[in-house]
């Protein structure tokens, strides 16, 4: 079936002007085909003899379907290609029931720990929407003056999240019931998770974590992972430790932290803050370290100028700051604003950490456990110790390629003897 126009998909043979055995010439009209537009003649592009008509009069076939076989020069006719069957009209399926929620909503629900099966959907055909999921995570909002849903401007919502104020606690400043930016209470002076925790105890700490991580949710983030082969680095570390006093021995976590701090020096875009719609690079590499507390919760003390410390000094700093955090006795210098945070869950056995950024920082580095994995070295396969490093970046400030560069830099530092000094 020839294509006789860009909008022609199929045609019906309404007439054959030739029969098997007829001699035909290039340019002869051999058939008529009915299309949506009209009846159109089909011309022949070959000289030869009609061997077979493949499509009977009245049959509708798709463009590209062979209509006839024409033998040329007395050569044996090619075996008649079977005409592809006309696709039958597919009956509209009664169909399985529609899924309760679209994939993005399902993902959103999973992230917030909500089971969409439990929700009454308000979307089309009863599907669960983002709003339904969000509503399920929130206590019933305080009644607004108008008695309906509290109307909060996008800017006010953003300010509330940044300042750790639950939206439900906001009050409109005008009679129209709209909460505007100016209605969001000013932020407490330099709030930070560690201080909030030391003052307010476990509940306060959870609230602080909740506020910070909820705020983090408004940041478009990307993730980059890399599995790093750390055999040589750990060998060298063992060598160092063998010569050192027991109290001065260095744990792998410090080695990786060291590599991250030095990498931040090489890729400065990931060390800094996002302020008022623009990235503000940090002037030194002050690294926040996520410390899990034994009774639950976490603190994020800071090691200032971590990149300037030699590995043994960094080990000392890390050990001391972890001890102070767990004892609830952080110093003010420990709570300085970090430009970058590291979350090392290696000692939990977790293979990879896909963390969320601590706003206003623009990146978070995750470190998993040291795991022996099969590792290709050239053509040979061996078993090597590896660690999965991850980088969560603020996509407003940087792109994934910067994250990739950063992980590459971590790998470089681990393999660079000069960096060990």
């Amino acid at each position: 079936m020839p294509s006789l126009g860009a909008d022609m998909d199929e045609g019906t043979v309404v007439e054959w002007s030739v029969a098997p055995g007829d001699e035909v010439h290039r340019g002869d009209l051999i058939a008529a085909v009915e299309t949506e537009k009209s009846v159109i003649d089909v011309e022949c592009f070959e000289d030869g003899v009609v061997e077979a008509l493949l499509v009977p009069v009245g049959a509708k076939v798709a463009v590209g379907t062979p209509l006839a076989v024409i033998g040329t020069d007395g050569a044996p006719a090619p075996s008649a290609p079977s005409a592809p069957s006309v696709p039958a009209e597919v009956p509209a399926p009664d169909g399985p029931p529609l899924p309760r929620a679209t994939p993005p909503v399902r993902r959103f629900a999973e992230r917030l720990g909500v089971d969409t099966g439990d929700l009454a959907g308000t979307g089309p055909h009863g599907t669960v929407t983002h709003a339904d999921v969000r509503a399920a995570t929130r206590p019933a909002p305080a009644a607004s003056p108008a008695g309906g849903r509290l109307r909060v401007t996008p800017y006010a919502r953003r300010l509330a999240a940044e300042r750790g104020t639950p939206v439900e606690d906001l009050h409109p400043g005008t009679a129209d019931g709209v909460v505007r930016g100016r209605d969001v209470p000013a932020a407490p002076p330099a709030p930070s998770a560690p201080r909030a925790a030391t003052r307010a105890g476990a509940d306060g700490m959870r609230a602080a974590i909740a506020a910070r991580m909820t705020r983090s949710l408004t940041i478009p983030q990307y993730h980059v992972d890399a599995v790093l082969e750390v055999g040589a680095a750990l060998d060298r570390l063992r060598e160092l430790n063998r010569r050192a006093a027991v109290s001065a021995r260095i744990v792998p976590a410090a080695l990786f932290l060291h590599a991250v701090a030095r990498a931040a020096r090489r890729v400065p875009e990931l060390n800094g803050h996002w302020v008022d719609g623009a990235p503000v690079p940090a002037t030194s590499v002050d690294v926040g370290v996520v410390v899990s507390l034994r009774g639950g919760g976490l603190l994020v003390p800071t090691i200032p100028a971590a990149d300037e410390l030699a590995l043994p000094d960094l080990m000392t700093a890390l050990r001391e700051v972890v001890e102070r955090a767990r004892a609830g006795r952080l110093r003010s210098s420990d709570t300085a604003d970090a430009g970058l945070t590291v979350s090392d869950l290696g000692d939990t056995g977790g293979h990879a950490v896909h963390g969320r950024i601590f706003p206003p920082q623009v990146a978070l580095v995750g470190l998993g456990a040291v795991v022996a994995r099969p590792w290709a070295d050239g053509d040979l396969l061996g078993v090597r110790p590896t660690v999965t490093t991850t980088l969560t970046g603020d996509h407003r400030a940087t792109d994934g390629v910067v994250g990739g560069r950063f992980l590459h830099a971590v790998d470089d530092v681990l393999h660079d003897l000069e960096e060990w000094s």
């Binding site: 294509s3 126009g5 860009a6 909008d7 022609m8 299309t35 009209s38 159109i40 590209g64």
Partner: protein
């Protein structure tokens, strides 16, 4: 007859065969979906392409229509670049942005297939204006069909070109049908040259099925245009043997009419004259056709092998890109 004149007539024949065989191959390529979009063929009108476009100088400009394969080929746009364009390839003469209806070639001053009937005329007037203001001794040949004569732009442009005495040769390729509407069904006055003459320019009709007549008329008209006294109008009475475009059921004319015009096939006519005058024998004819077919095969292979334009370049050429040169 002198050898040069004989060679010349042979060239006219060769040019027409080239256009004819090329378009016949295009039909096959279209039927197998290798060419898409709208495609309009000039089969039957080859005498205009070779007689008119072939008579232009390299410095002259050509503004054409969507039925421009023949004009482009005769103007010298490489056959492989034309085919590549119809295949949507990066090496197409419009880098795959134009297709069959929009062939362009800056180097050959080929200002394209314009697919708005009458839309090319104002551009041709402007090219003529630029030539006049800079005193360049060149002409702009503006090709359009009988349908364009009904458009307002036709009348605006003939008036403007005559008023300003611009070196534009208006070439009406009258194939008697504006798509499916016959000449006498759309024009109160079907003598198109008479209509042009009303704007105060020399205008006459020519047998558009005879390449030698077309060429002679074009040369005469160009001499009038280049001198500076103003534009000229040629009505080239011709006929397309095939439908307006692919997928045109051709219901608006009867087969007998087509058969009558086929008796004046420009290719057959010149072929017969050359045979009769002893300027060509059967062997020479076979060789000519074989050479043309070889060129088509080669062009098709080259176009088929060409890369497609990368999708990343989709947004290119919406505005001019810095090249460092100015036109």
């Amino acid at each position: 007859m002198s050898a040069t004149v004989a060679d010349d007539r042979l060239d006219l024949l060769r040019g027409m065969v080239r256009v004819r065989r090329f378009e016949e191959r295009c039909v096959e390529l279209y039927s197998t979906e290798r060419i898409r979009g709208f495609m309009h063929l000039c089969i039957g009108e080859e005498a205009v392409a070779v007689g008119l476009v072939g008579a232009l100088e390299p410095g002259d400009a050509v503004v054409s229509t969507y039925r421009e394969h023949g004009h482009a080929l005769v103007r010298g746009v490489p056959m492989s670049a034309v085919l590549a364009e119809m295949f949507g390839r990066a090496t197409g003469c419009s880098r795959g942005r134009g297709g069959s209806m929009h062939l362009f070639d800056a180097a050959r001053r080929f200002y394209g297939g314009n697919a708005i009937v009458g839309g090319g005329l104002p551009v041709a007037v402007g090219l003529g204006l630029a030539d006049a203001l800079t005193a360049r001794p060149v002409a702009t040949a503006c090709l359009f069909g009988d349908g364009a004569v009904a458009e307002g732009e036709f009348h605006e442009c003939l008036n403007l070109a005559a008023l300003w005495r611009l070196p534009v040769l208006f070439c009406c390729e009258n194939n008697r049908y504006a798509m499916g509407t016959a000449l006498e069904r759309e024009h109160a006055e079907t003598d198109l040259a008479l209509r042009a003459a009303a704007y105060g320019m020399p205008a006459w009709a020519v047998d558009g099925m005879d390449p030698e007549a077309v060429r002679a008329a074009t040369q005469r008209a160009l001499a009038l245009v280049r001198g500076g006294p103003g534009p000229c109008f040629l009505e080239l009475r011709t006929y397309r043997f095939r439908a307006h475009s692919m997928y045109d059921p051709d219901r608006y004319r009867d087969r007998a009419e087509i058969a009558r015009w086929r008796e004046h096939d420009p290719v057959d006519g010149l072929h017969a004259r050359l045979l009769a005058d002893g300027e060509l024998d059967d062997e020479g004819w076979a060789r000519l056709v074989a050479e043309v077919d070889a060129e088509i095969r080669e062009a098709e292979a080259v176009a088929e092998a060409a890369p497609v334009e990368p999708v990343e370049d989709l947004l290119r050429f919406v505005g001019a890109e810095p090249t460092g040169e100015t036109p």
